[in-house]
Symmetry: D2
Subunit: 440 residues, 4 copies
C-alpha cells in the first residue's frame, strides 16, 4: 500500500459550484471556504472537522443488525495494517472534502493491544503516520479523546468505577492520550463520560463517584500543565445512553459539577445537539446556555430526531437549527480553538461510498446557509434592535442598579409605591418568528 492508493475512486476534490443541477450532489452549492463574511472567512467561522470513528471505523451495525458498510480500507489484513490503510483513506477524504480538521479517539486510530504498553506502542506508530499526513496535507487535529467506554473493563465506569483498579487504567490511558495530543498539536482535548453514571441507584454511591470523577479531572489538569500541553479541555455532556443516567447530563449539570469541585477554569463544553435533545431541551438550548455562561468551547454538529429517544448521530440538515447555532457562535465571536465537528454517521442503509461525501456536503451546505442567514440577521439588526429595546429599562435608574447588583428590596418597594402597576408589554413572539423566517 502506498500513499498514492485511492479509496474513493472517481470522486474528485469537491468544488464550490452553486449552480450545479440537483442530480449531481458531489459539489458545494453554498459552502465557499474562502468567502469573507463579517471580516472572517467562511472556513474560519465554521472550522469543520470530520470525525474518525463514525466515518472511518463505523460498520453500520446497530443493536438489531449486523454490519452493512463495506469499506475498502477495512478489508482484510492485520489490525495495524488496517489502521494505516484507514488513516490514508481518511486523509484522502479530508483533502477531497476540503475540511481542515479531524477528531479521533485513541482506540479508533490504533488498535488496543493485549497490554497497556502494547496499546501505547500501537498508538505511537500510527500517530507517527498521522503526523506525517498532517504535515503533508495541512489538516490538523481539532480534538483528541480517549475511549473510556467501549472496553469491557469500563462497563461499570471509568473514573467512576467502583473498582479503583479500573480508574487507574483510565488514568494511564488519559496520560498517554495527553501525550499524543501534544505530539499531534491537538487544539482541544475532550472528555465524554459515557460510562460515568449509573445503571441503577441501588448499587451506586453517587457522592463517592462524583468525588472520584473530580479527582480524575484534577489529575488530568495537573499532567496537562506538567507536560506543557497547550489545548482547551472540553467536557461533552450527554444525559443518558449507554448509562441510565450520566453525571454530565447537560450543560448546566456539567457547569454545576465543575464549579462545585473548583474545576471550572480548566474546562469548557463540547456541545452535541443530539445529546441536548435527548436531555429534553430544544436543539440549540445547550449551545445558548453554555455560551451565556462563557463555557461554549466546541460543537459536535449533528442532529437526532425529536421523536426518537436515542442517539442517532445524523448529519445536521435543518437550516433553522444551523442558523440558530451560527447566530450564537457569531455573537460570542467564534468557536476557536473549537469548531464544528461532524459527530455524525451515514445511515446504515447509506451503503455507497459516495454517501459519505454526500452526507458531509449536505451538512456543510446546511451550515453555510445557517452562517449566511445568521450574518444577515446580525448585519441587518432588525431582531437585535427589537431585543435591545425590550430590555432598555435596565440601562438606567433602578434597572441599572439591579443589573449591577446594587439595588435592594426596600428600593424596589419604594419604586412600586411611587410608580404602581407596570404597563402590559406584548412579548411579540409570533412577530419575532415571522421575521426570523424571512432570513431562512
Amino acid at each position: 500500500m502506498t500513499t498514492d492508493e485511492i479509496f474513493f475512486h472517481g470522486i474528485p476534490k469537491i468544488p464550490y459550484t452553486p449552480d450545479a443541477g440537483l442530480r449531481d450532489l458531489l459539489c458545494f452549492k453554498h459552502y465557499n471556504a474562502d468567502e469573507v463574511l463579517l471580516g472572517r472567512k467562511m472556513e474560519d467561522w465554521l472550522r469543520f472537522s470530520v470525525c474518525y470513528w463514525h466515518s472511518f471505523c463505523g460498520t453500520g451495525a446497530d443493536p438489531f443488525g449486523f454490519p452493512t458498510l463495506q469499506r475498502a480500507w477495512n478489508e482484510g489484513g492485520a489490525a495495524m495494517k488496517t489502521a494505516k490503510r484507514r488513516l490514508h483513506a481518511a486523509f484522502e477524504f479530508f483533502t477531497k472534502l476540503g475540511v481542515k480538521y479531524y477528531t479521533f479517539h485513541d482506540r479508533d486510530m490504533a488498535p488496543e493491544g493485549a497490554t497497556l504498553e502494547e496499546s501505547n506502542r500501537n498508538l505511537d506508530k500510527i500517530t507517527d503516520l498521522a503526523l506525517q499526513l498532517q504535515n503533508k496535507t495541512g489538516v490538523k487535529v481539532l480534538w483528541v479523546t480517549c475511549n473510556l467506554f467501549a472496553h469491557p473493563r469500563y462497563m461499570n465506569g471509568a473514573s467512576t468505577n467502583p473498582d479503583c483498579h479500573v480508574l487507574a487504567y483510565a488514568g494511564a490511558q488519559v496520560k498517554k492520550g495527553l501525550e499524543i495530543a501534544k505530539k499531534l498539536g491537538a487544539q482541544n482535548f475532550v472528555f465524554w463520560g459515557g460510562r460515568e453514571g449509573f445503571m441503577s441507584l441501588h448499587n451506586t454511591d453517587v457522592a463517592a463517584e462524583l468525588r472520584h470523577m473530580a479527582s480524575f479531572f484534577k489529575m488530568a489538569v495537573a499532567y496537562k500543565e506538567k507536560i506543557g500541553l497547550q489545548c482547551q479541555f472540553l467536557i461533552e455532556p450527554k444525559p443518558k445512553e449507554p448509562c441510565k443516567h450520566q453525571y454530565d447530563y447537560d450543560a448546566m449539570s456539567v457547569i454545576g459539577f465543575l464549579k462545585h469541585f473548583g474545576l471550572d477554569s480548566h474546562f469548557k463544553l463540547n456541545i452535541e445537539p443530539n445529546h441536548t435533545t435527548l436531555a429534553g431541551h430544544s436543539y440549540e438550548h445547550d449551545i445558548v446556555m453554555a455560551s451565556a455562561f462563557g463555557m461554549l468551547g466546541s460543537v459536535d454538529s449533528n442532529t437526532g430526531s425529536p421523536d426518537l429517544g436515542w442517539d442517532t448521530d445524523q448529519f445536521p440538515m435543518d437550516i433553522k437549527n444551523t442558523t440558530m447555532v451560527m447566530k450564537t457562535v457569531i455573537e460570542q465571536g467564534g468557536l476557536q480553538p473549537g469548531g464544528l465537528n461532524f459527530d455524525a454517521k451515514v445511515r446504515r442503509e447509506s451503503t455507497d461510498p459516495e454517501d459519505l461525501f454526500i452526507a458531509h456536503i449536505g451538512a456543510m451546505d446546511a451550515f453555510a446557509r445557517g452562517l449566511r442567514n445568521a450574518v444577515s440577521i446580525i448585519e441587518e439588526g432588525v431582531i437585535s434592535d427589537m431585543v435591545k429595546e425590550r430590555y432598555q429599562s435596565y440601562s438606567s435608574g433602578i434597572g441599572r442598579r439591579v443589573d449591577e447588583g446594587s439595588a435592594s428590596l426596600e428600593e424596589l418597594e419604594e419604586f412600586i409605591k411611587q410608580n404602581g402597576e407596570p404597563k402590559v408589554t406584548s412579548g411579540k413572539q409570533e412577530k419575532y418568528e415571522t421575521i426570523f423566517n424571512h432570513y431562512l
Copy 2:
C-alpha cells in the same frame, strides 16, 4: 362565621386503625405518628405538610374544562370573608388529618388588592388570623412562597422580566413575603420560578435575565438577614411549564446557577418529583443528586405519570418511590427544617369532600410504608454491606489517594504497569433489585 363552624361534616379526626376494612378509608392503616423508628417519631421523619393552594383554593379547572370542585368555604361573600372562611376550613382539615405543617403562597392566603398597599393590608389581616389559629392548634408553617407567576404582570417573567418595573413589583412582593414568614415563624421560604425562563429564544437575552435573577436573590438574602429572619431559603426546580424553558430546570441546573453567582451557601433545594420526571429523570433522581451535593432541603411529595408531559401533581401512591425517597432522607439524617409537603391535588373528577381526606390518607400511608421499608433496608444492612464491599478499593492504597485527591496520572500508569488488567466484577443489578423488592 365562628371558629366552631364545621366544613367537613361527619369526618372525624383520622385514627390509626391498621386492621380497618377496605371499604372504610377514613383511617390510617400504616401511618402511626408517635411510633418511633431509628430513634425518631414517624411524624418527625416525615414532617408532612398540607398545601393551601391545591387543597383549599383549587377549583378543578383544567386547560380544557371549567371548575368542578364545589367547596363550602368558597361559596359566596366578599373576597376577604372567603379568605377567612377558607383558613378556618384549612385548620379544621389540618387538625382532623393530624398534620403539623402547612405551606402557602401569599396570594392563596389573602386576595390581591388593587394596589400593592392594599394587597399587603389584606395579607396582614388574614395572617393575623392564621397566627391565632397556629397558636391555638400547634400547626406551623413549613414554608411560605410568593406567587410571582399568576398575575398578568408576570407573564414575561418576574425577576427575569425584560421590564425592570415588573422585577421591582416582584421585589416588593417578596419583601412583604419575608416579613410574613417572620411573623408566622415559617421554617423555610421557597422560590419557584414558573415564569423565570423563556417562551422563545428569539426575543430573549438569556445572560441578562440570569444576571437579574441572581441580583434579585441577593436582595432577598440581604433583606432576610436585615430583618433577622431565621429560615432556610429554598429554590424549587422545574424544567418547563408554564415556560418553554425555565432556568431552574433541575437540581443540577440550580446548583450550577447558584455556584456561578456565589449564592450556594444561602439556598437549598425543594425537590418536587413530578418536576423531576418532567425533566427526563427518574422519580427519585433529583432527591438523590441534591442530597449528594448537600443541597436537599425539602420535598414536594407528589407524583406525575411518566407517560404524561405536564405537571399533574397527583398524590404519591407508589410504594417503591416512597421507599427510595425515605431511604435517601434517612441517609442524610432527615429533612428538618424541611418536610414532605403534599403539593398534590385531588383529580378534578374527585368531587366529594371526603376525597380530599382519602387522598392525603392514602399518600401518608404510602410514605409511612416507604419509611418502614427504608428503615428495614437500613437496619438489616444487606444492601449497604453489598455497596460498601463494592467500593472497598477506595479505602486504602492508591484508591484512598484517589478518594482524597492526592494521586497523579503517573502513579496510576505505574499501578497499571505493575498490576495489568483489572478483573471483571458483576454489577449484579438484578440481585439488588430482587433484594430491594423483598422490602416492598
Copy 3:
C-alpha cells in the same frame, strides 16, 4: 352596536406585498390567494380557516396564570350581547385577513344556558346572525363541532361517561350541533374526544366505554342521514391531555376503532400535528398515515415544540413542516371539503391586537412557502423519480404478483433458490435530505 363597528382600528385589509420591509408585518410576502399553481388557486389548495375559540374566545389564561388578553369585544355587557359583538369582530377579522372559512364549537359561538333548551335558543339566535354575516361576506363554515369537554358534567367523559345520563346530554347537544351545521352549510363536522378516555384504569371499564362511544357515533350518523346533512364527519385524534389516555390516540388508533365497529365509511380524520407530536410521532406522521389509508379529511394547522409535552397550539412557522404537509396534500389531490384550520393561539404574552394578525399572516406565509416548495418538488420530479426507481421491482414479475396479492411463499422460496442473495442497495437518505433542502 352595528356591523360598522370596528374592532381592529388602524388595521387594513391585508395586502400581498412581497417586497415590503421587515418592520412592517401587516402584509403577505408569500401568500397570494389568486395565484394559480398546478392548475388551482393558492386559496383553493390551502383553504385556510380561522378558529373561533382561540382567536376570539381565548383569554390568555394558562394553568399557572390569569387572563392576559384584553379584547374589545369581550368587554362588559350580558353574555348574549358579548356573543354578538364577538361575532362581528370575528367577521371583521376574517375579511380583513382574506380567509374564507371559519370553525367553531357550539359553546364558543353562543353561551351555555341553564337548561338545554336555553342553550339551544342561544345558539339559534347567534347563528341567525352568523348566517347573515356569512351571506354578506361570503365566508363559510369549514366545520362545526360540539364542546363535549369543558362543562363539569363531562369531567368523566361524554359518550364514554360511566353515567348514561351524561351520554344522553352529549347526544342531545350533538343533535342540535348537526342541525346548526346544516343551517350554516358547514362542510364538515368534527368530533374531538377530549374526555373520551380515562384518568385511571382502576375505575374504568374500557370495553364498555368503547362500545358506548361507537354506539354514540352510530346515532350521529343516523341523524345526519335523517336530516340530509351533506358534510364530512371527521374525528380528531389526540393521545392525551386532558385525559391520561384518550381512545382517539392517533390516526391509526382511530382507524382501528372505526374499522372494528364498522364505522369507517362514515368518517375521515382531522389531523392536528401538535397532537401527532404529543403521540410520539414526527410532525407530518399522521397526515401521511391518514392519507395512505385514504382517511385524511382536514388539517388543524398548528405546531407545538417537540421538547414540550402538552398542547401549545402555536402558529405553524416551520417551512420544512409546511412543505411536507403540502406535498402530501397535493399528492392526494387536495383537502376539500376539508382545509387548513388554524387551531392555534397567540401566546398569552402576545397581547397586542395586531399580534392576532401577525400570527395568522406569518403562518399563512409559512404555508404559502410550503405550497410553493411542494409544487416545485412535484413539478421537477427529481425526488419522485428516485422513489419510483427504488420500488420498480414491484412493477413486473414476482414483484407485481406480490403487489397484487397473488404470490405464495412457495414461489418466493423458489425465486430465492434461483436467484440467491439480493444485491445491496443504498437507501441514500442523506441524498434525499440534501435534495429536499434545496427546495426550502
Copy 4:
C-alpha cells in the same frame, strides 16, 4: 460433548423456599408452580417462557461497548458445534429453573449459512436435537419467530423492502420457519417487524409498503393452513427502534392495519410492555387495549425505564406492574396458548452466570406476587363492585339501549328534556389507588 455436560456448575434446581434469607437468591420465595389459585396452577396462569436470544446468544455488547458476557457454551469451536452446546446449556437452564416453555428466532438456534439451502440444513440439524431435548425434558416451544432484521439484506425492510428480491428472501425464510414450528409443536408463531417501517419519509412509499406487508402476511396464513400448522399467529408491536417509525407502532396500530386488510381473524398480539412504554403509553396500556379488543395473545414480560427512550429489555421487577398485567390476564381467562415470555436480558454488567438465574427468579417471583395480588383483588371484589356500580346506568332503560346500539339522538334529547342536568359523581381515583395499594 454429552448431554451430561454441566454449564451452570454448582447451581441446583431452583426450589420454592419462601423463608430463605436475603443473601441466598437461588430460590423462589413467591413462585410455587403447583399451588392452585382460582382453580388453576400458578404455572398454568403464568406459563413462563425463557427466550433464547438474550439469555443464550446475548454478548453484552451495546452501541457503545464491546461484549462483556463470557458464556461457557459460546467458547471456541465451529458454529454448528457451538449451536449444539448452546442448546444443551439452554435446556439445562430451563429444567433447573423449572420453566416449561422457550422461544427462539430461527437464526438464534442455528447459524445462517452462505445460502438459504445451507441455512435450512443447519436449522434442520439443530432442531432435530431440540426435539430430542424437548421430548426428554417436557419443555415446549411457546413460540418461534424468524429473524428478518439482523442480516444486512433486511436493512431497508423485509416484507416492506423496496426491492422485492428481499421480500422474497424473507418469504422463503418464513416458509421454513413455519415448517420448523410444526416440527417442534410451537404453540404460537410471532412476527416482529423491526425493519418494517421507515428511516425517512423522503425515500418511502408508505402505501405500497403497507400493501406488500399485508400481502406477505396473507401468504404466511395460506401456507400455515396448507401445512396444517396448528398455532396462533401473533404480531408484536413496537413503535420505533431500529426504524424511526415502525408500522406495527402499538396495539391499536396493528389492529387498524389487520382490520383494514382483512387479516384480523388470523392474528392476535404479542405485547411487550417495554415497547408499549416507548410508544408513550403506560406499562399495562397495550395489554389492556389488546384484551379489550379480544386480541391479546401473549406477553413479552419485560420492562424498560420510563425515563429512557430505547428498548432496555430489563427483567420485570415492579410488583404494581405485574399485578396490573395479571389482573387483565385473569379477567380474560388466561393467556393460553400464549404465555409470559422473558424477552429480557441481564444487564451487560451482570457478568456472573448466576446472574442469569437471579434475574429470572426475581422476575418470576415478581409475577408470582402480581398473580397473588390480582387473585386477591378479584376474589375480594371490592374494586370490581365499585366499578360495576359506577356503570350501572347502562344495565337498564336508555342506558341499556345505548349499550346495545339501539338508541337514537332524538331519544337522548327527549331524555334530557325530561331529566335535565345529570348529577355530579366523583370518579374517586385516589380511593381506587389507595385500595389497590392495600393489595401490593
